[in-house]
C-alpha cells in the first residue's frame, strides 16, 4: 500500500527529465561510481579526489577541443558511492544514463560491480571505459560499448617475470593468492609465465578472502622451502596478516614479492618491509607524463606510490581524453570507435592500444622497498643495479 508513497518519494528525487537541449552541448559529462563504503572503499575511495583533480586540470587548460562544435568543452565528473554493492551499482549507472545524461561511463572497481554496471552501457548505448575490470568473464557477453585499458588479468605480471628472468639467482617459487575472482586469475597467469620462463612453482594456494590467521598456510609453505615467496595480489589486509606471521614462523625466502603492497603493508611490517618487491602502475622517469601524474596525485592529496592503482586511473583519464579529442564530437558511436582505436604513447615508452576483445596494454612495473619507500626497478637495466635480495632478513 505504502509502496505508492515510496514511489513518489523516490520519483521526487529525480529532477524533472527535461529533454536535452539540442544543438551544441555545454560540457562533457563523465559518470561512474567509486566505492566510498563497503569492502572496496579501502582501495578506491581516495580516487574521488583524483577524478576532481583531473577535471580541474583539463578545464584549467580550456577543456577538450571538439572539432564538430568548433570549440573546446569543459568536462564534468559525476561520481556516486556504489557501497561496493552490485545492486546499488546497477541503479546508479542507470541514474547516470537517464538522470545525469552522461556522455561516457567510467567503470567502478572489481569485476562483480563491473558486471552490474555494464548493463547500462548496453541498454543506453553509452561508451563504457572499464577503468579497473580486466577479468575475461566480463568480455563473455557481447557488448561493443565496453573497453578497458588494462591487459588481461593473467598477463598482469608480465614485466615482473621479464625482470626475474634477467635477475637470476632464483629457482623455486611459492605463490599465495586470495580466493577471489581477479586475484586467482592473476596468480594463475603468473604461475604459467614463471614456468614458461623456466622457473619452478613448488607451492600454489588460494586463501579464503576472510582468512585472519595464516600460520597454517605459512607452515605448509615453509615445508616446500622456496627461494621466492610471491603474495600475488593478496590485497591488504590479508597480506599484512600473512607477512607478519611468515616473519614470526620463520619463513625466510631469498626473495619476497608482494604484488599489492600500499602504505598500510609497509607500515604494518615496519623495518621488516626492507627489500620487499612489489608492483606499481608507475615508474620513475622524467617525461611530461611522469610530471603530470606526480602533480595530479599531489592535488588529490597522496603520494603516487601510496595507491598503486592511481596509475591505472591516470592512464584511463588520458585514454578517455584522447578518444574524445579524436572523435571531435559527443556522438556516442563516434566516441566508441575512437576508444577502440586508441594508439597513444605515454611515459615516453608505453604503447597504449586495444586488442579485438577490448583488452588494453596497461601493466604494472616492479618496485622495491628501500628505507620504507618504493624505488623503481624499471627500466630493467637500471632495476638490476638497484635490486637487492631479501635473503631471509626481516
Amino acid at each position: 500500500m505504502l509502496l505508492g508513497l515510496a514511489g513518489l518519494a523516490l520519483a521526487a528525487l529525480l529532477p524533472a527529465g527535461a529533454p536535452q537541449a539540442q544543438g551544441t552541448p555545454k560540457e562533457i559529462v563523465i559518470g561512474g561510481t567509486i566505492s566510498q563504503s563497503g569492502p572496496l572503499q579501502g582501495i578506491v575511495a581516495p580516487f574521488v579526489k583524483l577524478a576532481k583533480a583531473w577535471e580541474d586540470r583539463v578545464n584549467a587548460r580550456g577543456g577538450i577541443p571538439m572539432k564538430a562544435y568548433g570549440k573546446s568543452l569543459p568536462i564534468r565528473f559525476v561520481i556516486y558511492d556504489d557501497k561496493s554493492d552490485p545492486a546499488t551499482t546497477l541503479s546508479f549507472y542507470e541514474r547516470l544514463a537517464t538522470v545525469d545524461k552522461v556522455d561516457v561511463f567510467i567503470g567502478p572497481f572489481s569485476s562483480g560491480l563491473h558486471n552490474a554496471a555494464l548493463q547500462a552501457s548496453v541498454s543506453h548505448k553509452i561508451p563504457f571505459f572499464m577503468v579497473e575490470g580486466n577479468d575475461p568473464f566480463l568480455f563473455k557477453d557481447p557488448n561493443p560499448w565496453r573497453v578497458t585499458g588494462l591487459a588481461p588479468a593473467d598477463k598482469e605480471q608480465t614485466r615482473m617475470v621479464q625482470f626475474l628472468s634477467k635477475l637470476g639467482g632464483l629457482k623455486t617459487f611459492a605463490i599465495l593468492a586470495r580466493d577471489n575472482l581477479h586475484e586467482k586469475e592473476s596468480a594463475k597467469g603468473l604461475a604459467e609465465m614463471l614456468s614458461q620462463a623456466g622457473f619452478q612453482v613448488v607451492y600454489q594456494e588460494t586463501a579464503p578472502a576472510d582468512t585472519k590467521d595464516f600460520a597454517s598456510i605459512v607452515l605448509a609453505m615453509k615445508q616446500k622451502n622456496p627461494d621466492a615467496v610471491v603474495v600475488e595480489a593478496l590485497a591488504p589486509p590479508s597480506n599484512i596478516q600473512f607477512l607478519k606471521q611468515a616473519r614470526e614462523q620463520g619463513l625466510n625466502p631469498k626473495e619476497l614479492f608482494v604484488s599489492h603492497a600500499p602504505v598500510p603493508v609497509i607500515k604494518g611490517l615496519g623495518p621488516s618491509s626492507e627489500n620487499m618487491v612489489s608492483m606499481l602502475y608507475s615508474f620513475d622517469g622524467d617525461s611530461a607524463d611522469h610530471k603530470e601524474f606526480q602533480e595530479l596525485c599531489k592535488a588529490a592529496g597522496f603520494e603516487p606510490w601510496q595507491y598503486s592503482e592511481a596509475g591505472i586511473r591516470y592512464r584511463a583519464y588520458r585514454r578517455i581524453e584522447d578518444a574524445l579529442e579524436r572523435a571531435g564530437t559527443l556522438d556516442k558511436e563516434a566516441v566508441r570507435k575512437a576508444m577502440w582505436s586508441t594508439d597513444l604513447t605515454l611515459f615516453g615508452e608505453e604503447q597504449m592500444k586495444h586488442d579485438a576483445t577490448g583488452f588494453g596494454t596497461d601493466m604494472p612495473y616492479p618496485v622495491q622497498v628501500h628505507d620504507g619507500k618504493y624505488v623503481s626497478l624499471w627500466p630493467i637495466e637500471k632495476g638490476l643495479k638497484v635490486h637487492r635480495f631479501k635473503d631471509g632478513k626481516w
Binding site: 505508492g4 520519483a11 556516486y80 562483480g112
Partner: protein, 318 residues
C-alpha cells in the same frame, strides 16, 4: 483528536491509492531509473515482509533470514544454467529452500530468544563459506553467471507481483488459525504449549512459509543481475537490513515491513544521492533512534494509527 485529521488523512489516502495504482504503469512513463530503484525497493519489501512472519508474528528474531535468499539465488541460478526455464528454475530453488528450512527448523527451534537469533546469524556466514568452497557446484569465489539480457521490465513486474503476494500472505497469516498460534508462541511459548499448541510443528510451518518468498526473490535476483558472488547474497549487512526495515515500520503488523522498507530505502536513496560523506553513519543514527524511541515502529505511532484507520488499513494485532 480524530476530527482533526480527516482532510490530511483522506488526502494522503488518495495519494497512496494513486501511487499504488500508478505502480504497474510506471515503466510506461519511461522512468528507467525509477523502475530500477523501485525494483530494489520491492526486493526489500519481499525480504522484510517475509522476515516478519517469523520475526514479528511469532517473535523469533531471525537474523539468518537472508540465508534463504542466498540459497534460493544459487539453487535457481544452477537450475537455470542446467537448462530449466525460469519458472522451472524458480520452482527448483523454492523446493530446495523449503526443504532446507524444514531441515534446520528442528535444531534451531530448540533454541530460544537470543540463542536462536545468534545461531541463525551464524548460519549466514556458514552458508557463505560453504558456497565459496563448493566450487564445482557454485563457481565458488568466481561467482555464478547466467546468460545476460536486459530483464528490467519483466523483473519489475515479477517483483511487484511477488511483493504483492508476500504482503497478501502476511495479511492472511495474521488472520489465520496458524497466525494465532504463532502469536501465542510469541507471547509465552510454554503456556501456548500447555494449551495444546503443537509449538515445534507451528514453528516449522512458519519458518518454511517465510522461507519460500526470499527463495523466489533470490531466484529472480540472480536472473536479473545474471551474476552473483557469495558475499553479495550472504552479506551480513544485507542480512540485517530486512530486520531493521520490519522493526522500523512496525513488526507484527502487515503494513509495518512495507512501510519500513519504503521509508528506510527512500531515506537511504536520498542520503546516497544528496550527501557527500558519512551516509552510513546517518543511516545508523536513524536506526538507533528508532530502536530507542519507537519500539512499536512507525506504524504504531498514534497519528499513523489514526491515519491508517481513516484509510481502512488499521490492523488488529491483539
Amino acid at each position: 483528536m480524530r476530527r482533526s485529521v480527516p482532510v490530511l488523512a483522506l488526502g494522503l489516502g488518495g495519494v497512496l491509492v494513486a501511487g499504488l495504482l500508478a505502480l504497474p504503469w510506471l515503466p510506461l512513463a519511461g522512468g528507467g531509473y525509477a523502475v530500477k530503484v523501485l525494483t530494489l525497493l520491492l526486493i526489500y519489501v519481499v525480504l522484510a515482509q517475509s522476515y516478519d512472519i517469523v520475526g514479528g508474528t511469532m517473535g523469533y528474531v531471525n537474523l539468518g533470514h537472508i540465508a534463504f535468499f542466498g540459497l534460493g539465488a544459487y539453487a535457481c541460478g544452477i537450475a537455470f544454467n542446467a537448462g530449466l526455464a525460469l519458472p522451472g528454475a524458480l520452482a527448483a530453488g523454492m523446493a530446495v529452500v523449503m526443504a532446507f528450512a524444514a531441515l534446520i527448523s528442528y535444531p534451531f527451534f530448540r533454541l530460544r530468544g537470543a540463542y536462536f537469533s545468534l545461531a541463525a546469524f551464524g548460519l549466514v556466514k556458514l552458508m557463505e563459506n560453504v558456497t565459496i568452497n563448493l566450487r564445482w557446484l557454485t563457481g565458488g569465489s568466481n561467482g555464478l553467471k547466467v546468460a545476460a539480457a536486459d530483464r528490467t521490465l519483466p523483473m519489475y513486474y515479477l517483483t511487484l507481483g511477488l511483493a504483492a503476494a508476500t504482503i497478501l500472505a502476511g495479511w492472511l497469516v495474521n488472520r489465520s488459525r496458524l497466525g494465532l498460534a504463532m502469536k501465542s508462541i510469541r507471547e509465552d511459548e510454554a503456556v501456548a504449549r500447555d494449551f495444546g499448541v503443537p509449538t515445534l510443528r507451528i514453528k516449522t510451518q512458519a519458518l518454511v512459509l517465510s522461507a519460500c518468498f526470499p527463495a523466489l526473490m533470490g531466484g529472480l535476483y540472480m536472473w536479473y543481475f545474471n551474476f552473483i558472488e557469495p558475499a553479495q547474497v550472504y552479506g551480513l549487512k544485507i542480512a540485517l537490513q530486512p530486520v531493521a526495515m520490519a522493526l522500523l515500520g512496525g513488526s507484527g503488523l502487515v503494513v509495518g515491513p512495507v512501510l519500513g522498507a519504503a521509508l528506510l530505502y527512500a531515506l537511504e536513496e536520498f542520503i546516497w544521492t544528496h550527501v557527500e560523506h558519512l551516509q552510513g553513519a546517518i543511516l545508523g543514527l536513524v536506526v538507533v533512534l528508532v530502536g530507542l524511541f519507537m519500539p512499536g515502529g512507525v506504524a504504531r505511532l498514534a497519528p499513523v494509527q489514526r491515519l491508517l484507520e481513516r484509510i481502512g488499513l488499521r490492523e488488529d494485532d491483539r
